[in-house]
Amino acid sequence: MPRTIAVDCPGCPPIRALTFDTLGLIKVVEARRVDGNQGNVSSPKVVERWGEPNLSNCILAASIDDRRIDPLLALARKSGLIEVINPLNGDIRVSAKSDVGSDDDSVVGIHLFRRERSESSSSRSRTLLTTTTKGAATLRSLELADSSAHSSISDSLKTWRVCSSGDVSCSAVDGSECYALYGGKGVEVNVWDLEKCDKIWTAKSPPKDSLGIFTPTWFTSATFLCKDDSRKIVAGTNNHQVRLYDIASQRRPVISFDFREASIKAVTADLDGNTVYFGTGSGDLASADMRTGQIGYNLSYERKLLGCFIGKCSGSIRSIVRHPELPIIASCGPVILGLDSYLRLWNTKTRQLLSEVFLKQHLNVVLVDSNFEDEGRTPYAVTEAPSNEEHEVIQNLDGEVEDGHVLPVKRKNASKDNNQNKLKPKKKNKKRVQAEGDGRCSPFFSCSTAY
C-alpha cells in the first residue's frame, strides 16, 4: 500500500553542503533563512551544479579546507585526475594528472592540509596527501597562483607504501595533521607519522573466538575519535563490528561491538570526543558512546541517550559529516533511486530527520561548508570576495572566540574526564558480557587484562 500521509520534516538551520557523485557532478545544497525570520527556514535545495556528467569523472574522495579566506577543496577523480577547486564558485584552481591512473589502482583518500607544513616556504603553497587502493601514500605540494595556468601540483614530495598486500579502503588524518591512519581489506589499522613518514603503530587482529573461528581483517572505515587526541581510533569492519583502538594501551581493540548485520560503511566522530556516528551498507545509521560501547537503540538505557537515526534511509550510507557548530549530521545514502541518492540531514540531539534532498545520482562523498552563515545577506558564491572582507573579518573574530579558543578547552576537559571515567562503565559492560557468554565480544576480556 502506498504511503498516503506525507511525513513532514521540520526545516533545518542554514547549511551549505557539497555532494560528489559517481557521474563526477558536484552539487551545492543550501538551506537559507526566509526573510530573516528566526525560526522559519526553507528546505534545502540544490543551488548549483558543477561539472559534466561522465562516468570516468566519478569522484572518489574529497577534502575541504573551509577557512574563511581563500577556502579550497581537493578532489580525486576516477580517471586519476586530482583537482583543487574553489568551493564557493567551483572554479578549478589546479588540476593535475596523477601517476596512479591504472585500472585497479584508484585513489581512496585525499586530504588537504589546513596547516602549512614546515617545508612549504610561501604562504600560498599547500600540501595534499593522497592514498591509493594498492597502498601508495603520496604527499604532494600545491603551488597556488592567481590563475590556474601558473599554479601547479608537484609530483610527489614524499611517497611511501602503507602495505605490501591487501587493499587500502580507508584513510584519515588527525586534527593536528601529524598522523595518518590506514586500514582496508587485509590491512590492519596502522598509524603513520607524517613528519618522519614511518609507521608508528599497527593493530593486531582479535583472537579466534570460542569456536576457533578467525575472521579475516577487512576494515571499511576508520577515523580518529577526537580532534586533539591522535591516540584513539574508531574503525568499522566489513563484519559489522565497530572497534575502538587506543594506541597508548594495546594493539587489540579496547572496545568492539556488533551493529546489526550489514557492513559498516562510514564512521564519523562527534566533536565531544566520545560519540561516534556510523552507517551501514543497508542504510542504518546509529550513534554510540565509545566510552561504554553502547548503542542506544534500546532506549531503556538511561545513562546515555544514544541510538539509531530513524528516517527513510533505505540505501547504503557512504559518507557522514558532522557540522562543526550546529547539532547536525549530514549523511548521504549513496546509491540511487527511488528511495536513495538522497542527502539527509539529522539533528544529533533528538535524532530526528530534519530534511532530505533528492540528488538523482549515486553519491560518494558529502562535505559541509561550515562558514556558511546566511542572515539575509547574499550568499558567498554570488558576492565578490573583496567587498565582503569586512564582514568576514568580524565574523572571523567572533568565530574564533567561539570555536577557536573556548571549545577546544572544553573538549580537552571532556576528554580527560572520559579517560578517568572510562574504567567504570566498561567493567559493568564486562560483567554483562560475561553473563551473556557471548563469544564474539572477546575483545572485552583482553582489554580488561590490559587495564
Partner: protein
Amino acid sequence: MGAKRKHSEAIEESAEAEKDHKERREEEKTSRKRQVLASTIKNKDKRSAVYAKLKQEKKRDKQKKAKAREAAEKRALELGEELPPKKAPRTIENTREVDETVCKPDDEELFAGNDADEFSGILKQEVIPKILITTCRFNSSRGPAFISELLSVIPNAHYFRRGTYDLKKIVEYAKNKDFTSIIVVHTNRREPDALLVMGLPDGPTAHFKLSRLVLRKDIKNHGNPTSHKPELVLNNFTTRLGHRVGRLIQSLFPQDPNFRGRRVVTFHNQRDFIFFRHHRYIFETKETKLPEIKAKKTTEKDKEKEDASAPQGKTIARLQECGPRFTLKLVSLQHGTFDTKGGEFEWVHKCSEPENILPKKSWRKQGKVHALCLQDQRYCRTVVVSVKCAASN
C-alpha cells in the same frame, strides 16, 4: 481508513443537511429521554430494529442530498451559471504522496546516468544478452517446471544445475563465460518463492519475492509460445528505483524483437507489485454480424466513416496467454553482484519503520477489536470444546 473517510465526508456535507440531522437527533433524544448506543442494546430484536431505523435514516439522508444536488445542477443549467464542482472520490491513487523521484523525460542527468549504467551495453545492442538460470541447492517439483517455462520465455537462456557450488563461484564462472545475467530461482517447500536477478559483470542484484505462480498447464486455453524473440512491455516503472529495475529486466531480453512471432512479455507494475504475463496476440478482421447491426442503427454519415476506415469490417486484437503467470515484489536491490554480508544496498525494503506502519492504523484498530472478540467468554468456551473434541479423538 474507512472511518477516516467517513469522517471527512461528514465534514464536507452541506451545513443544512447537518442541521437537519442534528435537529432530528435532538428530537430522538428527547423522545427517548437519553441516548442509547445501539451496540449496547442486548436484546437482539430491539437492537436490529434500531439498526434498521438508523439505516433507513441514512438512506433517506442520502436521497435528500442527491435530490438537492440535482436541483442545484438543474438551476445552474437554467440560469446558465457554472455547474457546482463534482466531488472526486478519494482513492489510494489520488491521495498518494507526491514522489519527487519520478523520472521526467526532460531530465538530462537521467539520460547521462542511463548511458553510464551497467545495462547500457546491452540496451544499445552492443552486447547480446546471455542468461544463466540456476536454482537454489534443493530443487524439485514446481521449481524445474517453472524453469523450463522461463527458458521458453527468455531467449538465449541456459539452465545450469546448481550442484553444491557457492553462488559467488557461479558468478565468477558466468563472468568468465560472458554471461550477461544470472537468474536464481529459489524454492521453498517445493514451491518457487524468490527470484534473484543479477546483472554481470558488475551490475546490480535484485531480490524479488515471487508469489502466485501459475504454470502454463494450469492456465485454461493456454497457447504454446514459439521460439521468436518476444516483444517486451514494461508498465509503470516510473520512479528512479522503478526505472533501474525496469532496465535490469529489459537487459534480460534481446532488444530486437521478431514482430512476426507476435509474442509479448509484460511486466506490469502496480503499487510496487510487478505482474508478469506472457501472451501471443493476433490481429483479426471480423466480418461478422457486428457491423451490420451497427449499420442499422447508425446514420448515413457514420456509415461512410466506417467504410472509409475499415472497409472489410473491424480489426481486433485477440490475446492468448501462454507461459507462466506470476507476481514479483522487490525486496532489495544491491549494488554489485551477490554479496549479502559486505554488500552495499541501493534499496532495501524496511518494514519496521514507523512511516510504513502509519497508514495501517485502521487495520490495527480492527486487530484490536478482533482480539477483544477472542477474549469473549463464548469464544473461549468454543475453543475449549474443540480442544476436548480433539483430545477425545
